[in-house]
C-alpha cells in the first residue's frame, strides 16, 4: 500500500501522523507541525532530567531487543572527560521490517530532533546516523534535512542558540545485514569489516572509536520528542494494562495479506483484530497459515497462536515468539513453509559475517539440508540433524545471527512438521514450489 493512506480508526498515529504528508519533510513544515519544540525544551533541562523522563515513560528499544531506553542512556557517565557518541541504527535490514524507512522518508526532522535530544542527554556532541546503502530515498531525504537543520542553526556548534554543540552526520552503509548488529555497525562506521565485537566491553564503556557510545533505533529516537512534549505519563498511558510495554509501536505488515503496510497501534492491541480488521485479513479465497510477527529472526507462530496474542513485548513471548522489530510476515495456505524456511536460512547464510564457526558452517549446512528436503531428496533423519544443528547454533556465538537462523527452523519443524514429512515421503514438494537453487 502506497502513501498517502488514511490511518485506520483503530490506529494511534503518533510517529506515523505525517506519513504521506510531503509538507512535513522540510524544516519549516516540521516546525509548523510542532517540531523542534521538544529539542528547545530539552536543551533547557538537565541531561539527568531528560533521562529520568524517558525512563519514566517506559520507552523500550524498537530495534528488536526491547531494552529500556532511559536505562540505556543512564549507563553513559557524565563528566568522564571522554568524548561520547550517539549512533542511530538506521540499517533496517530485518526481513519483514520497513518502518524506519517511512520515518526517515516522511519525517526526517523527527529523527534529527530525537537524535539531538538523545545526544544531549548522554553527553555526546556527535551523532552518526548509519543508514543502509540500499535506502537511496531515505538517504537523500535525511541528507537534505541534516543540511537544512545545520543551516538553520538547529544543530551544529551552537544548537538552537544555546551554545551547545550537537553535530549530526549521515553515514551510508554498503550492503550487509549484520551491520544492524550494534557493534558491527560501530566497526562499519569506523571503516572496518562489519564484524560484531565480543561483549563486554559494552558500547557504553567502549563503543564507537573506543569511546562511550549509545546506539538507538530510529523509531525509538523518533518517539522521544513526543515524550518530552506531552510527558511520560501520557506516553505510559498508551498501553492496555501492561506497565512493562508502553507507548505506540509501528508494525510493518507484508506477505500474503489484503492490506500490507505500516500500522501504528498502542502496545497491547489484540493481534487478531490487527490482522483481520486493520490489515484486511487474507487475500480473497485464502486462509492465513503462519505468521512471523517480529521480523524473520523470531519464532514462527501458527494462526491459532497469533490470534491469541496481545501485541506487546510480553504478549508475543507468552505465545512462543517475540515482538522483535515489529515486522509481521504473513504466509497463507498457498505457501510452502519448507520453501520459506529454506529461503530464510539462505538469507542468514548469505549474511553471516563468518567469524564464528557455528554460524558460518551452521547457516550454510542447514540451508543445504533444507533445500534438499524442499526438492524432495530429504530423509527423516535430516529433520533430527536440522534440530541438532539449530541447537548448536543457539547461544554459542558472538552475536545472535546464528540464533536467528535457528529460530524459524526449530519453530518451523515443530509447528509444520507434516509439511516437512510430506516432502520427504512424497519425494517432491506437495505445493509444487521449488526453492531457488
Amino acid at each position: 500500500m502506497g502513501y498517502p493512506h488514511t490511518s485506520h480508526p483503530k490506529e494511534t498515529p503518533v510517529l506515523s501522523q505525517y506519513f504521506g504528508d510531503p509538507g512535513a519533510r522540510s524544516l519549516d513544515g516540521w516546525k509548523q507541525r510542532g517540531g523542534y519544540r521538544a529539542l528547545e525544551k530539552a536543551l533547557g533541562m538537565s541531561p539527568a532530567d531528560i533521562v529520568n523522563e524517558v525512563k519514566e515513560s517506559g520507552l523500550r528499544g524498537r530495534g528488536g531487543a526491547g531494552f529500556p531506553t532511559g536505562v540505556k542512556w543512564s549507563f553513559m557517565k557524565p563528566g568522564d572527560g571522554k568524548p561520547h557518541y550517539l549512533c542511530v541504527n538506521a540499517d533496517e535490514s530485518e526481513p519483514g521490517t520497513f518502518k524506519d524507512r517511512e520515518i526517515m522518508r516522511w519525517t526526517p526532522h523527527a529523527l534529527i530532533e530525537g537524535a539531538a535530544i538523545g545526544a544531549y542527554a548522554i553527553g555526546a556532541e556527535t551523532c552518526y546516523i548509519y543508514i543502509r546503502g540500499e535506502f537511496t530515498e531515505p538517504l537523500r531525504v535525511m541528507n537534505a534535512a541534516v543540511k537544512e537543520a545545520y543551516a538553520a542553526g538547529v544543530i551544529g556548534p551552537n544548537a538552537m542558540g544555546t551554545g551547545k554543540r550537537i553535530d549530526v552526520h549521515v553515514h551510508k552503509g554498503a550492503g550487509a545485514y549484520i551491520c544492524g548488529e550494534e557493534t558491527a555497525l560501530m566497526n562499519s562506521l569506523e571503516g572496518k569489516r562489519g564484524n560484531p565485537r565480543i561483549k563486554p566491553p559494552f558500547p557504553a564503556v567502549a563503543g564507537l572509536f573506543g569511546k562511550p557510545t549509545t546506539i538507538n533505533n530510529v523509531e525509538t529516537l523518533a518517539a522521544v520528542p513526543h515524550i518530552l512534549n506531552r510527558g511520560a505519563a501520557w506516553y505510559k498511558g498508551m498501553s492496555r494494562g501492561n506497565p512493562k510495554s508502553t507507548g505506540t509501536k509501528l508494525f510493518s505488515v507484508c506477505g500474503n495479506v489484503a492490506k500490507p503496510g505500516n500500522y501504528e497501534v498502542e502496545m497491547g492491541f489484540p493481534f487478531k483484530e490487527f490482522l483481520y480488521e486493520l490489515c484486511g485479513g487474507p487475500l480473497p479465497g485464502r486462509r492465513f497459515k503462519a505468521i512471523i510477527p517480529g521480523g524473520s529472526s523470531v519464532p514462527i507462530q501458527t494462526v491459532e497462536e497469533a490470534e491469541a496474542t496481545v501485541m506487546d513485548y510480553e504478549g508475543f513471548i507468552a505465545q512462543g515468539t517475540m515482538l522483535g522489530s515489529g515486522g509481521v510476515i504473513v504466509f497463507d495456505d498457498s505457501q510452502c513453509m519448507v520453501k520459506h524456511i529454506a529461503r530464510l536460512a539462505r538469507f542468514y547464510a548469505h549474511e553471516s559475517c563468518a567469524q564464528c564457526t557455528q554460524c558460518r558452517e551452521g547457516t550454510a549446512w542447514t540451508t543445504r539440508i533444507l533445500e534438499r528436503i524442499e526438492r524432495g531428496h530429504g530423509t527423516m533423519a535430516d529433520l533430527d540433524t536440522l534440530l541438532e544443528l539449530a541447537d548448536q547454533m543457539t547461544g554459542k556465538t558472538i552475536c545472535v545471527l546464528s540464533d536467528s537462523c535457528a529460530a524459524p527452523i526449530v519453530s518451523g519443524i515443530k509447528k509444520f512438521r507434516s509439511e516437512f514429512e510430506a516432502h520427504i515421503t512424497g519425494k517432491r514438494c506437495p505445493m509444487g514450489a521449488t526453492a531457488a537453487a
Partner: protein
C-alpha cells in the same frame, strides 16, 4: 528521484577491460578531493572515511578497481590489502564493471511469497542478461537477486541504479525497461 552517476557512466577512464594499459587517472582530484576532505572532518580517524570514499569512487567510475582501492588506501593511510578486505565484505561495491543499469530484485521470503521469482525471470528475459550476475551483450543491463531491500510491504521492490521502485510485478517489467533512458 535520480541523482548520482549511473554505474554505466563512461565519461571517465578506468572502466571496462579495454583500459588495462591506460595510465590510472586518480579519482580524488579537484572538487572530489575537496569532498573527501570535508568528509574527513566528520570523523576522529581517517579510516572512518573509508566507506564514504569507496562510495565516491563507485559514483565516479561505476565500480571499484584495484587501482582505485590503492588510491583510497594511500589517501587514508591504509594498505591496499586492508581496503580490499573491506570492499569484499560489503555487497554494494562493484569489484568489476557492471551494465549501465544495475538491476537488483529482492527475493527474500516476504517478496518470495508475493511472486518475486517471476519478477526475476521477467528481468532476465527482457534484458537479455540470461543469467543472474551476467551483463547483457549490449552492456546495458546486469541483473542480480538481492537480500531484503527493507520494503517488504511493497513487494516486489527493485533497485535500478539509485532508483528504488516499489510494487513491481512481472507484467510491469517490459514497460519499466522501456522507460529507462
Amino acid at each position: 528521484m535520480g541523482g548520482g552517476h549511473a554505474p554505466g557512466d563512461t565519461s571517465h577512464g578506468d572502466r571496462g577491460h579495454a583500459h588495462h594499459d591506460a595510465p590510472y587517472e586518480p579519482v580524488f582530484v579537484g572538487a572530489v578531493k575537496d569532498e573527501l576532505t570535508e568528509i574527513l572532518g566528520r570523523y576522529p580517524t581517517k579510516m572512518a572515511a573509508l566507506l564514504p570514499a569507496l562510495w565516491i569512487v563507485q559514483r565516479e567510475r561505476g565500480w571499484v578497481s584495484d587501482s582505485a582501492m590503492a588510491e583510497v588506501a594511500q589517501l587514508l593511510d591504509l594498505t591496499p590489502a586492508y581496503v580490499k578486505g573491506v570492499v569484499t565484505f560489503y555487497t554494494m561495491y562493484h569489484q568489476h564493471p557492471v551494465g549501465k543499469y544495475f538491476v537488483q530484485v529482492c527475493t527474500t521470503s516476504p517478496c518470495g511469497a508475493c511472486g518475486a521469482e517471476k519478477v526475476v525471470e521477467a528481468f532476465l528475459k527482457h534484458t537479455g542478461c540470461g543469467e543472474l550476475g551476467a551483463t547483457s551483450p549490449d552492456g546495458r543491463y546486469t541483473v542480480i537477486e538481492v537480500e531484503c531491500l527493507g520494503a517488504c510491504g511493497f513487494a516486489t521492490p527493485v533497485m535500478i541504479n539509485e532508483e528504488f521502485i516499489e510494487s513491481v510485478t512481472a507484467d510491469k517489467v517490459p514497460e519499466l525497461l522501456t522507460q529507462l533512458p
